[in-house]
């Protein structure tokens, strides 16, 4: 599975004196390459490449919030920040609005497999609350109409 990204992996391995240090980058790459989640096969493949016991790769993966194990995600991942600064500025309303708009509950994926909705405990964007992250990008000072625009633009991407 990691065959197509060999060059990228070579670059990652070069950063560290010990191959094991590359495990987080490898998990990130594997997750990106496989519908936003990590399969047991992918983790075993990483273990083989890094010379680690598979159980250690699984343990590292299970530790980090951004790892998604054995649960394919929608094409776009949405995380709404809900810790204190965002909550003070209306995060709960933003979450409800997104749930209504997408027709799903937090933690679920839309039927067309376009969006997976989650919450996050502080994304470090507190001065521009409320905010959400969609895939790699931050969307800040959210309003209902801004959310409509963002979802429409993302939904159009094929």
């Amino acid at each position: 599975m990691l065959e197509n990204v060999k060059d990228e992996i070579q670059g990652v391995l070069k950063k560290y004196p010990d191959k094991k240090s590359a495990v987080m980058d490898m998990l990130r790459i594997a997750q990106r390459e496989a519908s936003g989640h990590l399969t047991k096969e992918a983790m075993d493949e990483i273990a083989g490449l890094l010379g680690m016991p598979p159980v250690e790769v699984h343990a590292a993966a299970a530790f980090y919030t951004m790892c998604r194990i054995n649960m394919p995600a929608g094409k776009h991942r949405v995380w709404v920040c809900r810790n204190l600064p965002c909550s003070l500025m209306g995060a709960e309303h933003i979450i409800k609005y997104l749930e209504k708009k997408l027709g799903i509950k937090t933690g679920e994926t839309t039927h067309d497999l376009k969006f997976t909705l989650d919450t996050a405990e502080c994304l470090g964007s507190c001065g521009t609350a409320p905010m959400m992250q969609v895939d790699d990008d931050y969307f800040e000072n959210l309003t209902e109409s801004k959310i409509d625009e963002i979802l429409a633009a993302k939904g159009r991407e094929s």
Binding site: D18, M24, L84, L88, G127
Partner: protein, 418 residues
């Protein structure tokens, strides 16, 4: 005070190396490479710079603990995990002025004799990681990184290590475990990282803002730096203001600016006509203050004297519409979510606190819940492996100390007071 750390905030071209150099960037590196490393460490000591990651430890002193033996490999790690809710300052430097951090890191590495450095950036900061990767590439191309930096014979390689979502990675020894490929659980200290850090080698771990102060200290001198703000915690400081104010955002001000000035002169005052009810001065681990404390000087020692802390400089402002039970619940939920599971008081204690706070908040509290919270706090505080659990307790105790009546009212009636 002219800006040192945030002078590029909002300038869409400033992150490029040509613009950085044009504005005088990498001049300090050239100056530093002509100095004996020990003189740099002395200058940083003399400047009075204290770590901006939260603990406020003397940066020069930390560097001086690194063994001088040139045959021992050493590392520098920059802590860009920025996870404390309310904090968004390091991102302000990384996104807009990545070369400032990189220049500071090269100088620090030269001072301690490190041939390699890593920037540990939280996984969610994709733009920041890309900015850093690009800036590092530019610095290599211009000879500020790589073999024979600026023709001086000093060699240095720098890498970005991206996190994957875990607040505990901000704790310095957990950060090292994470880079080494383990679950990010804190290590026992001693040995301290200065003797046995990354890959068991002597390692300095410093926050982004700390390292970004270094070029200005070299260029303008320790005296200039120590003349800004209070004698015992000098220098420029970034305050991250969020919550119920008109102009939330990042403000670079002299250390020791009062909370009142920050909130009312810089952040535009309260969002609506509702009055200020509580303010967290240093990220959610820091116990909250109230109206009567607004004239407190924002520096390490003055805040410690008030029973709270400067922490990461994250000022979260709450007006009278904020329920303190809900606030405490949200803060505690964060800590229990982020507890790494290594020690029992934190692993089991923080979710227990969260459950009680959740039922109080949802109107299902019981008589005695407030006392139960206090008892749990006593059994967590000071008994955890690292300060994460202490942070959870300090935050809750701060809320209980100032607003105990709200918690009791919730327990009795299931509703908010007032």
């Amino acid at each position: 005070m002219d800006k040192v750390l945030l002078k590029k905030l909002g300038d869409p071209e400033a992150h490029k190396i040509d613009n950085y150099v044009k504005a005088g960037g990498y001049k300090a590196l050239g100056m530093a490479l002509k100095m004996p490393p020990d003189n740099i460490i002395q200058a940083v000591k003399d400047s009075g710079l204290r770590g901006r990651g939260g603990a406020g430890f003397s940066t020069g002193l930390k560097w001086s603990f690194i063994p001088k033996d040139p045959t021992i490999k050493k590392f520098l790690c920059c802590n860009a995990d920025e996870g404390e809710p309310g904090t968004f300052k390091d991102r302000g430097i990384i996104d807009w002025d990545p070369h400032l951090l990189i220049e500071g890191m090269i100088i620090a590495s030269y001072a301690i004799g490190a041939a390699k450095s890593y920037i540990y950036i939280r996984g969610e900061f994709a733009l920041g990681a890309a900015r850093l990767d690009a800036a590092i590439k530019e610095a290599y191309a211009k000879g500020y990184l790589g073999p024979n930096v600026m023709g001086t014979g000093f060699n240095h390689d720098m890498f970005v290590h991206r996190g994957f979502g875990a607040y505990i990675c901000g704790e310095e020894t957990a950060l090292l475990e994470s880079i080494e490929g383990f679950r990010a659980q804190p290590r026992k200290k001693p040995p301290f990282p200065a003797l046995a850090g990354l890959y068991s080698k002597p390692t300095v771990i410093n926050n982004v803002e700390t390292l970004s102060c270094i070029p200005a200290i070299i260029e303008r001198g320790a005296k200039w730096f120590s003349s800004i703000g209070p004698e015992k915690s000098p220098g420029p400081k970034i305050f991250c203001v969020s919550g119920h104010v008109k102009k939330p955002g990042l403000y670079e001000l002299p250390m020791g600016t009062t909370l009142r000035e920050i909130i009312f002169n810089h952040a535009g005052g309260m969002l609506t006509e509702k009055p200020l009810k509580a303010v967290i001065p240093g990220g959610v681990s820091a116990p909250m203050l109230t109206e009567k404390d607004l004239d407190t000087s924002m520096d390490f020692d003055s805040l410690a004297a008030k029973g709270t802390m400067l922490g990461s400089g994250a000022v979260v402002v709450m007006d009278s519409s904020a329920c303190m039970v809900k606030t405490a619940y949200i803060i505690n939920r964060f800590f229990s979510h982020e507890s790494c599971g290594k020690c029992t008081p934190c692993r089991d204690g923080t979710p227990w606190l969260t459950n009680i706070l959740m039922r109080l908040e949802h109107g299902e509290g019981k008589q005695g819940d407030v006392e139960l919270l206090e008892g749990l706090c006593a059994n967590i505080f000071g008994r955890t492996f690292c300060p994460l659990g202490d942070g959870a307790v300090m935050a809750l105790r701060g809320a209980l100390k100032n607003f105990r009546n709200e918690f009791e009212y919730h327990a009795k009636t299931g509703r908010c007071l007032g």
